[in-house]
């Protein structure tokens, strides 16, 4: 389990614009704590994906400061960015599986990038595929997998390297409710058993109630509403002792 003290992500007055367009994200200031489970909600176009891109280091902000794992991401040299990306697991909304690689090789990708030896990798990926119920589809190419199977490959790839933070963009958007719940339980298990900080973007309000101990980040037109002050920093004076991060129930946010 991770050390839940301190912070894993800290945004300070962050804004993001594409080109000369108006800002899609404005004045974002919040802290994410290790071992916490966050839902990022908001209507379509609210800026969820843009915020996630900042979180998984696919985008640099137009203004403001971002610290991750204790390092200033704005001044971080380009050559050091991959090192921080390896600490993240990302489930993209469109999965972004590599088409020419099999399910096995897709899941193995983060390990190969980090230089894991093949015998060890073989065991780890096989177990991971078994865990997501895709052992029998290990050699299948993404194009031959169903939407749900592709999603599970994407999730297996995101968690195979035991990331310190898992970021998932609408991970249940393409699966039936039963599968959605199963995937959510996977994230919870990672969060509870491995201590991975989880950020799940979703517009499915019913999903929020499935993880009772989660925190809610709600985006409205590029601004973060924080009705309970749970996300502000420095953290409110009386954090929950178990996590170091204030927790609230989804129901408590009124969503």
């Amino acid at each position: 389990m991770n050390d839940r003290s301190g912070e894993i992500v800290k945004f300070d007055n962050v804004g993001l614009r594409y080109g000369t367009d108006p800002e899609v994200l404005s004045d974002l200031s919040f802290t994410l704590f290790p071992g916490s489970f966050y839902f990022l909600t908001g209507a379509s176009g609210a800026g969820k994906t843009s915020l996630l891109k900042l979180l998984y280091l696919a985008q640099r902000p137009s203004r403001g400061a971002i610290r991750m794992f204790g390092k200033d991401m704005i001044t971080l040299p380009r050559t050091r960015v991959p090192e921080f990306r390896r600490r993240l697991g990302v489930v993209f909304q469109d999965f972004r599986l590599v088409e020419h690689l099999s399910a096995f090789d897709n899941v193995a990708l983060p390990l190969r990038l980090s230089g894991t030896e093949e015998p060890r990798l073989l065991k780890a990926v096989s177990e991971m595929l078994d865990w997501v119920g895709l052992s029998h589809r290990a050699q299948a190419k993404p194009a031959t997998l169903s939407g749900g199977e592709q999603q599970r490959v994407a999730i297996a790839r995101a968690v195979i390297a035991r990331p310190r933070m898992l970021i998932a963009d609408e991970p249940t958007g393409n699966v039936d409710p039963e599968m959605a719940l199963k995937l959510l339980r996977l994230f919870e298990a990672l969060n509870n058993r491995v201590g991975t900080t989880v950020v799940v973007a979703t517009h499915d309000v019913h999903l929020l109630k499935k993880v009772p101990d989660s925190l809610i980040m709600r985006l409205t037109k590029g601004r973060l509403s924080d009705p309970t002050g749970a996300l502000r920093f420095p953290p409110r004076p009386d954090p929950a002792p178990a996590s170091g991060a204030p927790r609230m129930s989804a129901a408590g946010t009124g969503i």
Binding site: Y56, L57, A58, Q59, R60, R78, T79, V81, P82, E83, R85, R86, R87, L88, V90, R96, L97, V98, E99, H100, L101, D105, L109, P110, L111, R112, L113, S114, G115, T116, E118, R120, L121, K123, A124, V125, S126, E127, M128, D130, W131, V132, G133, R152, R157, I160, A161, R162, K182, R185, L186, E188, A189, L190, R193, V194
Partner: protein, 313 residues
């Protein structure tokens, strides 16, 4: 699907593993990013042209060096005298005068029969007739390459005993030939430089195209923590394979052309042309051309991919 409570933690890797993916594992990250199409053949043609230009340039250099060595320290004394007896007397006097000259290593009075045989193809059998006065010739081998002033001093000494004599340094009348050969060598060098630029441009275009074809995969690898070095290495490997293929084919084509040209020139049976043969060092230089081509392709591809990756965050 297994129960979420059974996370295969034993299977999860140790996060202390340093991010140093080996080339071997990185190689499978991208599909074979081969140039494909005509690019390896374009490289082959360009390398063949470089081989031909280089062989030509080296051959010209050898030719010039050979000619220079043979005649740079040589001179000829001509005694242009219509009277055969007087001509023979003056020739003997010149030989006597120059035998002790420190600038002259050796000399040889060319026999009249030899002169006649040299002239016969142009003047016919009548060349030996007294009606056609032929100058007496004395070949001089000098102890060193003489300056114009030294040749002038030699001329003065000869004039004292043979007023109708003239001294010609052979390097003087061959100077325009040397200049032409030098110009041709520079032309070969210029051609090689231009072809190298064309090769780099072809590789640049091909690398850009290969990168664009795999941009989606590259972006995914980038977002999963792949380093620029890992991605570049994969492309470099493909580029090296194609450039090596093109280089070898080009070398073969170029050598075939050089061999054919060599056969044609050898058939001329000219003493001067034979000096333009290629030595083992020349062949080594020609053999290195595809290697240099591959290196050029690798560096070009590396720079191209690095620039393309800079456009990503």
């Amino acid at each position: 699907m297994s129960s979420p409570d059974t996370i295969p933690e034993a299977a999860l890797p140790d996060q202390t593993t340093p991010p140093t993916a080996s080339g071997g594992s990185a190689a499978s990250l991208l599909p074979a990013a081969r140039f494909g199409g005509p690019i390896p053949w374009v490289i082959a043609i360009l390398i063949a042209l470089v081989v031909i230009a280089a062989a030509g340039g080296l051959s010209l250099r050898n030719l010039a060096e050979s000619a220079r060595t043979e005649i740079a320290d040589a001179a000829t004394v001509q005694i242009i005298e219509a009277n055969p007896e007087l001509r023979a007397e003056q020739a003997d006097a010149v030989v006597a005068a120059l035998e002790q000259d420190p600038l002259v290593r050796s000399l040889r009075l060319v026999p009249e029969e030899e002169l006649a045989s040299l002239l016969e193809p142009w003047l016919g059998a009548g060349a030996t007739s007294d009606d056609v006065p032929i100058p007496a010739l004395i070949d001089l081998e000098l102890s060193r390459q003489a300056s114009a002033d030294e040749i002038a001093v030699l001329q003065e000494r000869v004039k004292k005993v043979a007023p109708s004599a003239r001294v010609d340094a052979q390097s003087d009348w061959l100077r325009p030939v040397y200049n032409a050969l030098t110009a041709l060598q520079y032309l070969a060098l210029g051609l090689i430089s231009l072809i190298a630029l064309a090769t780099a441009a072809a590789v640049w275009l091909a690398a850009r195209s290969a990168f664009t074809n795999h941009q989606e995969t590259v972006e995914i690898i980038h977002l999963l923590g792949g380093t620029e070095a890992q991605i570049t290495r994969v492309f470099q490997r493909s580029v090296m394979r194609d450039a090596a293929f093109g280089g070898l084919v080009g070398l073969f084509l170029g050598l075939a052309a050089v061999w054919l040209l060599g056969q044609q020139f050898a058939a001329l049976d000219s003493g001067m042309i034979s000096g333009g043969g290629l030595g083992w060092l020349d062949w080594l230089i020609i053999a290195a051309i595809p290697v240099l081509g591959v290196l050029l392709a690798l560096v070009t591809a590396r720079i191209t991919i690095a620039i393309a990756l800079r456009s990503m965050v």
